[in-house]
Symmetry: C2
Subunit: 517 residues, 2 copies
């Protein structure tokens, strides 16, 4: 039930408060420290039942690791390897995951933006991976590196976003083989917040690690996470060489990855909530255990991507009740294993930024916050099942994260007695608008969203009957006009550019995904 974080200098009287209120405020919020209790939808017996079922899968069914190095690694630590299928004894799994840290601090290149992580601490990270964008004119088209830079700038300026992530949109004007270099540089250059690292292949991940070493220094990385990779599993029960080699690049340098089974509920899991969680849990555990085979004690994050599949059309769905339930349950499992966990936030399946997108997104955010997730990914821009990132939705989602942040902090209690005196002062039938407690507290008392119009219809019509998409795009343009690039050391900048130039010469510009060089 912590205090609300209010910067110093706000107590300078009404005039000062008004001036500050009018000024744009891009200061990043600290990592969310949760006051909201977690939603424990399962009794301890249910948690034990999921755990036992997952462990039985790992022992009896096994997991396919389509990767010779991983298979050799597993043999080395005594797992039962039969062909590509690895059978993992529950004692071995428990022993391995026991060395995953339960919390750490993410280092940002601006130390003021470093972030405590795990336990009650959580961070919001924008969406990534969209092959299309809806741009500043709401036109759906292929993105460029400039579009990616735009999203990195917007993430930099959004107080509740703690990271710029990586390829928010795919820069289609760069060949696939070189893309990871430009994406990483854009994250590093346009913001001093933390960011994610590309895992499109082992070699690409190595390049990202090298760029992080240039930015932070190898010694720092040996003790401190500076970025995060994502490794998707192929449900049911398969991990492939691309993901595993990227995992090795990150974990061997002590950098965390999200171990993310990719769930299309009903298609690649059983058509039932609890059994789907049991399968996903087995998959996540197998990858979490492997991170510790790579490097004992390295940080790692229990991940997943969740959608349910329409059994009428085969389409993935967002914001459905089962996704909420699975989030609550996965949170309980991650806490049971004492490992930080990742989820996806504010997901929409709508083709435009219509009411469907709003409902689905807010359903997801509430699930995530009540579930107590730590790494809250895809927190801005996601629509059309991830096929596009919308500029309009991005800035609204960023404000939704600020609202979710406020809710998840819980109420303040420090002014309780003073405010109860106000009740006595005002008395029955009075009003509070002029009371000193109101004047002193109104700015932080009740969140006032910029992106939501709460005026009367008459005023709204007088202002041109503007719906949220147009309001949000206008706001995004204004934000970009106010953008100031955070200073990056000139020597580091040059070293990063030199590295990119060298790798572009070394890597053939073949336009195919996952090219290994």
């Amino acid at each position: 039930m912590g205090e609300l974080p209010i910067r110093q200098g706000r107590a300078g009287g009404r005039g000062a408060r008004r001036a500050l209120r009018e000024a744009p405020d891009f200061a990043m919020l600290p990592a969310l420290h949760r006051g909201l209790p977690t939603c424990e939808i399962m009794d301890p017996e249910h948690v034990a039942r999921i755990d036992a079922a997952s462990m039985a899968i790992l022992e009896d069914v096994g997991v396919i690791f389509r990767d010779p190095i991983a298979l050799a690694d597993w043999k080395r630590v005594g797992a039962d390897v039969r062909g590509e299928r690895v059978h993992l004894d529950r004692a071995l799994v428990r022993q391995l995951i026991s060395t995953i840290p339960s919390s750490w601090t993410y280092r940002a290149r601006n130390p003021e933006k470093s972030l405590p992580f795990g336990g009650k601490n959580a961070i919001f990270v924008p969406m990534t991976g969209a092959p299309f964008l809806r741009d500043l004119d709401d036109v759906r088209r292929w993105p460029t590196l400039n579009d990616l830079a735009m999203f990195h700038k917007l993430a930099h300026m959004s107080p509740a976003l703690h990271s710029t992530a990586h390829h928010i949109v795919e820069p289609m004007d760069k060949v696939v083989a070189h893309r990871h270099l430009h994406i990483t540089y854009s994250s590093m250059k346009h913001s001093d917040k933390t960011f994610m690292g590309m895992t499109t292949s082992g070699k690409n991940a190595e390049d990202v690690m090298t760029m992080c070493e240039i930015l932070f220094g190898r010694d720092v990385m040996e003790t401190t996470p500076v970025t995060t990779g994502n490794c998707n599993g192929n449900s049911p029960l398969v991990w492939d060489e691309t993901m595993l080699s990227a995992m090795r690049a990150f974990c061997s340098r002590n950098q965390p990855v999200l171990c993310s089974p990719f769930v299309l509920g009903g298609a690649n899991t059983p058509a039932s909530v609890a059994p789907a969680v049991a399968q996903l849990n087995a998959e996540a555990l197998s990858a979490l255990a492997y991170t510790q085979v790579i490097r004992k004690g390295c940080p790692a994050i229990y991940g997943h991507y969740l959608s349910t599949v329409s059994m009428k059309s085969g389409a993935p769905m967002a914001g459905t009740p089962e996704i909420s339930l699975m989030n609550f349950m996965i949170g309980q499992m991650a806490r049971f294993y004492n490992v930080p966990w990742r989820t996806s936030n504010l997901l929409g399946g709508a083709k435009t930024f219509d009411a469907q997108a709003g409902y689905e997104s807010a359903m997801t955010m509430n699930a995530v916050l009540h579930a107590g997730a730590n790494y809250i990914w895809h927190s801005a821009g996601w629509n059309e099942a991830g096929m596009h990132c919308s500029v309009a939705k991005f800035v609204v989602d960023a404000e939704m994260c600020a609202m979710g942040y406020r809710m998840a902090e819980g109420p303040r209690w420090d002014d309780f007695d003073v405010a109860m005196q106000a009740v006595r002062d005002v008395g029955p039938g009075g009003h509070y608008l002029g009371h000193p407690h109101t004047l002193e507290n109104f700015e932080r008392a009740f969140f006032m969203p910029k992106m939501f119009d709460n005026n009367s219809i008459e005023q709204w019509q007088a202002e041109g009957s503007v719906e949220i998409t147009a309001r949000a795009l206008e706001h995004a343009k204004k934000l970009l006009g106010d953008y100031e690039e955070p200073r990056l050391d000139a020597g580091i900048d040059e070293a990063l550019r030199d590295f990119i130039a060298r790798r572009e010469r070394e890597i053939p510009a073949v336009d195919a995904l996952n090219t290994e060089h």
Copy 2:
């Protein structure tokens, strides 16, 4: 963690399931029986602190009852009455509220639609009170009695709506003085679900009670709630004669009212979450206590209406984080007093059915469900801060209630072992689409919203690029085409019509609110 309610007769093979899936299904869901745990944002010490502060307000500041009968009643039971201000000793308050039942069964005219209520049981009730509608063509205009009938029909056909409420929209083509008669008749006639009773004056409430007696019989009402009234408080700390006289009409006949302080957070409460809840709690307790002065043991519901006020514009706001927090806290207080409680659901402040409306509405619904509310009012149609009821939003909200219902039930566990066998059958790298467990369970496994489009953009474009508003209006038209009026006994129908005709002769057609006759 109950089973999902599946009607009998669905186990008739794939063909039968498909036929049923294509057929419209208007069967009402049972009252929601919660599996979702309640969000306990306050420690017991915080609950005690709110309780103590509220009791101190009732003792020291007092509450204004602007009503001579209520003042006389309070004197009779030993309260400290000074002018219009009633000071309530905490022992008296605790003694009075202790006789409020913690649960009961609502009787509907179709006994199959009667509803257990209170404790873990909750019901969804549509919005009421809108002076405008957005109609089947999305045109914003004044409503008529025919429009009200349309909404009553839609509520009747929505499985997750358990009530038709009362004046969902105001029938502007009826004079105010006669309106309560036509509203009540429309609720009774167009659906056999439960409904709400008008409380626009004491005499109007008496007319509603008489109509309920015609429909259910006086003896039934003596033992069983058949309707619900709403009594708004004037925060801070005032109850007026209109509301109190309506309260007496309901409570004296053993019918429950919602005791609803009307909170504009920051304007008529302190600008802080916990103190606002303490004031609201005092107000609710004073009215709940008065229900038991009227009739000891009569059912009553802890109510409230919550919005926060923009300190920039004075506008009320919906879906803000503080509204979520206050819902969690009010739920805890109601459970502390062991009284069922009411909240408001799916509220929007947008002028059209845009993404803002979606975000705000889903924020509200999640707060309400995690807070554990029993009487979940305003569950369909509310936009523009209640100034209009939208047909499009009504049918989408009704489906959202069905999704919220599914989430709040919690996961099923009855198929866990069978599904874990499916994991073994499918194995790593397989898929579940053809597995018998999937075929047997997919219909109830994952909610498939009708109102949300999850198809590819190519398919969506091929189908005309229809956004949710147009989809929802088309669905509403189809529903209305399929509507069948539930049978009402001809003698009762005639008696109701005779009563209305008589009262229309007796009550002058003066077009003013709260006319007392």
